[in-house]
Symmetry: C2
Subunit: 708 residues, 2 copies
Amino acid sequence: MSVNAWVWFIMAVSVASLGMAWIFTREVLGADTGTKAMQDIALAIKEGAEAFLKRQYTTIYALSILLAVLIFGFYFATKGSTLAWKMVISFFAGAVCSGIAGFSGMFVSIRANLRAASAARTSLNRAMQLALRGGAVTGLSVVALSLLGVGLIFLAFGGMSNPKEVPYQIVGFGFGASFVALFAQLGGGIYTKAADVGADLVGKVEAGIPEDDPRNPAVIADLVGDNVGDCAGRGADLFESTAAENIGAMILGVALFGHFGLYGIFFPLVARAFGLLASIVGIWTVRLKNEEEDPMAALNRGYMITSLLAIAGFYAAVYFLLNNNLWFFAAGVIGVINSFVFVWITQYYTEYRYRPVQSIANASVTGSATNIITGLAVGMECTAMPVIAISIAILASYYCGIHALPGVRGAGLFGTAIATMGMLSTAAYILAMDTFGPITDNAGGIIEMSGAPEEVRKRTDRLDSVGNTTKALTKGYAIGSAALAAFLLFSAYLDQITELMQKKTGNMNYVFEHVDLSKPLVFIAALIGAALVFLFSALAIKAVGKAAYSVIEEVRRQFRENPGIMAGTSKPDYGQCVDIVTKGALKAMVAPGLLAVVVPVAVGFIFKFFATAEDPTIGAESVAAVLMVGTIAGILMATFMNNGGGAWDNAKKFIETGQLGGKKSDAHKAAVVGDTVGDPFKDTAGPSLHVLIKLLCTVTFVMAPLFL
Amino acid sequence: MSVNAWVWFIMAVSVASLGMAWIFTREVLGADTGTKAMQDIALAIKEGAEAFLKRQYTTIYALSILLAVLIFGFYFATKGSTLAWKMVISFFAGAVCSGIAGFSGMFVSIRANLRAASAARTSLNRAMQLALRGGAVTGLSVVALSLLGVGLIFLAFGGMSNPKEVPYQIVGFGFGASFVALFAQLGGGIYTKAADVGADLVGKVEAGIPEDDPRNPAVIADLVGDNVGDCAGRGADLFESTAAENIGAMILGVALFGHFGLYGIFFPLVARAFGLLASIVGIWTVRLKNEEEDPMAALNRGYMITSLLAIAGFYAAVYFLLNNNLWFFAAGVIGVINSFVFVWITQYYTEYRYRPVQSIANASVTGSATNIITGLAVGMECTAMPVIAISIAILASYYCGIHALPGVRGAGLFGTAIATMGMLSTAAYILAMDTFGPITDNAGGIIEMSGAPEEVRKRTDRLDSVGNTTKALTKGYAIGSAALAAFLLFSAYLDQITELMQKKTGNMNYVFEHVDLSKPLVFIAALIGAALVFLFSALAIKAVGKAAYSVIEEVRRQFRENPGIMAGTSKPDYGQCVDIVTKGALKAMVAPGLLAVVVPVAVGFIFKFFATAEDPTIGAESVAAVLMVGTIAGILMATFMNNGGGAWDNAKKFIETGQLGGKKSDAHKAAVVGDTVGDPFKDTAGPSLHVLIKLLCTVTFVMAPLFL
């Protein structure tokens, strides 16, 4: 097939996937919407979520415009108007596509919750399918829009006639996507956990009422939070991962232009398109064998089908575009396997069937302090296995690349790029499972609050617990793919500096390839990169604490001033809580977000003044150290936080199954404290670090001329 | 003065310092020992501490002999018997000197506690002086023995006639010291916190009895822990820092042999000797102006005097040994200033006069979960300022070095080495202040348990609170100096690889100087280095949890089976608790300790199989990445843990002053949980990481031939 045909293929698959998302949307919206009581609750959630998202994206786009002006001015002054326009256009394209993907996913998920709840009254299978298909809208729009966006920008910038330069010019798309993702994830993450912590602490611990009790004034805010954090936030995160990976891999394809021509550059997009097709089939096939089956088993079957189809599609792509070079195919398979391994490790550390979570539950018997200590230890311990997995994946795929094209510069990294594609080929399906989480969580809340019968509650509880698992797994998957994507972007950054230096010095043989930690400046930059991760996490967590504190005060105030709430005779003021969290989250997301943008740029700008004739690139080299060691610290810290938080959560759930004294025991109270501490870890700081890792790469890539 | 005269000077100062330590010992032992009740308690502490130390060092030396056999075999096989003997002898010398320093410090501190308690019955000044001079025995023996040990080994190995090779051969001394320090700090840290957490959780939280209440069966174990953790553990830690810094700086002095000859190599030892003299004077001068003065003010005056004298001594050393090159003097001053800055930052983040601790206290009002969240955020946040300080210190001293000897290779790093010397020149005084902590803590316990009058308690409470501050400050100082010492040892490692490769290839112009993170293998090694820090911390914390759990069970058992204990009619079985913690701590220290030794060696050994003709040193380069990024992660994690733990501790103390409801309020209960969580952070994992950082350097240096 000609390159043009493949371009059409990519576009067609993207559009078809969006069409599929539309079909799923119609299916979900057409489903039964239950009783009036259920509709009222769903309406409150919908309104809260929409109000938050509207205000959040207003803030994000205001910041984006500010940044775009700066980028334009900088590029206009240093590189001329053409490149300046291209940068700004691709930046905005990335920012807008990310916004659309997030918004459309949310649009469906805050409607699917009610439909899934209604379906749960009669059929577990139907409820599960509605939730998954509602989630699939997020998954498909995210992946398809990132594919379409990158593809169209490439074509619009004249990529077909100038394929060796244009990939560098579309990094702005990745930067726009990561900029939006950072704030979407931070804001959503702060929102969801401030509401959750606030609702839990006063509701469960102080007032002693169960989760999702309608008497809790923060309960709607809590349900809204699941949508804006898990759905919109993670959607933006993975939009960014796929976009960054598309671009990073295309840039690496440029290095192999002599071997594969345009095919090498389009390979990432074709592989992604096959992955989309595989995910669509996977989502369609998910159904329960009978009403008693574990929904997780059905979802796992779908994941397995998606993975196998993705591998087949990968083979086709390698066959047609990479001369059937089986070493490259092997690299792709390594990526797919790596995603399985990450999911398995995450399960081991966060499910209560296994030792780690049980050790936290046991420690709860001696109080909240030992619960916390054990949880922190488990979180730190669980970084080891993913590091080994990612190390093996990077090395193995690198050596696949070297064997694929012996002696060719860049072949090893292209192998790693292909492994990343393999890992991300199931992204749409994974994302559908992820958004399944907030939908079922909301469905459970709607059922609980509308006072449905016990039997229905049991059904939604089962779905909710599966949703908790899928949310945790997605985080493991997201950090693994973020690590691999970042690894690609490092090389893209080094290539970018090479190109800039070649132009600057006129020496076309110049290669910038060392990031030498033994230089004091580079070492210090590395130290700063790692410290940035700590400081960023601190700000994110503090933001939750601050916003949660205002929720707690508000809930206490309502309980105090209106005793009818606890008695059940009068309704609490949900809107006031929603409003307070919205304001708090939006205010709090700005500082950590800007920190992530400013620090790497500042290091490059300041350290370049230490440049000497022998070492002209010390500024750029220092920035590379910030990226790389920042990424290392980010991977570890995010894993620590995601899995630690997930483990605390499930230790509590383990006790709630009746173990160690069960609900209302002292052990349970201690476990609730651990769960509360874990919340900002796993739903705010951890996921925001995924985005931080990639943002560091894209922002420095775009600002690279500043460091020389 | 001739080089020989300076050698005599170094030896004379070392011996004189040991003599001074002896005088302080006599003074302390000659002081009044109080009432029979007090003596009984002190005896129980002394016996517990000695029993633990005896068993601990038996384990440590058994492991040391095992390791020595391995080292000997390895060197014998690859380098011949002379070097093998030298390595093993210097390894044992380091291990034994560290043990003697730790043991003699402990010998005095577990006797000084009783004398300080007795003196507190009449005079705050006298009590303070006894505690400080008791602490000074640790400080002086640690620094003097590390100086004497390094100096004598250098002479014994023929350093005067072969000064360019011998410094490399004495790295074994540093390895021995760090090997002992790791286990001393780990074992002591696990002991002290397991006992503390156990005593607090059951005593304070469950039974509602105050700290140091004689009814608590774990109270003696708790008091023993202060000695074995803070005194013996930190002593071994700083013994290692000074030894490593001496050796690292001597190796860097070799690079400047052409400029300064032996003077450059002996400079570190001379500067250290002046620092010892300064510390002795400083310790002598500490006295309260009157009984109402804040003891911290008196200690700070002594610190100021020590620092000023150390600067003067530094100037003398630069004048006589480094041709009065004032750039090098400036580098030394940077080091002294850096130690002040570190102390100040630590104060800001851990004292309740400032915002961070107050924010934790305020968060306690909404429960233990918010207390923990805020504490974790403060801990992560507080890594930023030390990173900036250390970055500025490294850079500024590096550029001082470059200006001192323009165009000379190695001059920049020698500048950094001199800054490290500056920072460590007050080590003996700082260590005296540090050991002051456990002595006053114990004195308070003895007074409390022996039922002394309120007025005396107030006096010991004041001293105890000052002791808490000095302990926290020392940790800040220790991590700062560990970071600088590690930075020296990196270069020593790179030099070692250079030398080995020159011998191997016969190319005497070969220089190994790049640690290139952009190579996939090196990046992965860096990732592993950082993950090692997380895993090591997890194991250390888990060890505390495990040992604490057995204490809790034991205390509960005693309360349950013997109701007379709570009624005050029968005495609890203190010995049983001491025994349980001892066993638990010793068992638990082995796994994390071996991990720290095995991982870097394994990386080097495995990764060398990826070596190619173009890249023959990939194994050694990967190990360098483990060191450097492991150090970065270690600095951050240790700072997070030390300061986070200190902040939690003082947030509780802040509430105990009557703020936010005071003692027994819900806020106080929440703050106790935070304090308990912080304990293994600040007294086990954090300080053990200081040692880990240096051990990584020394173990890889010694095992370097294995990586090529």
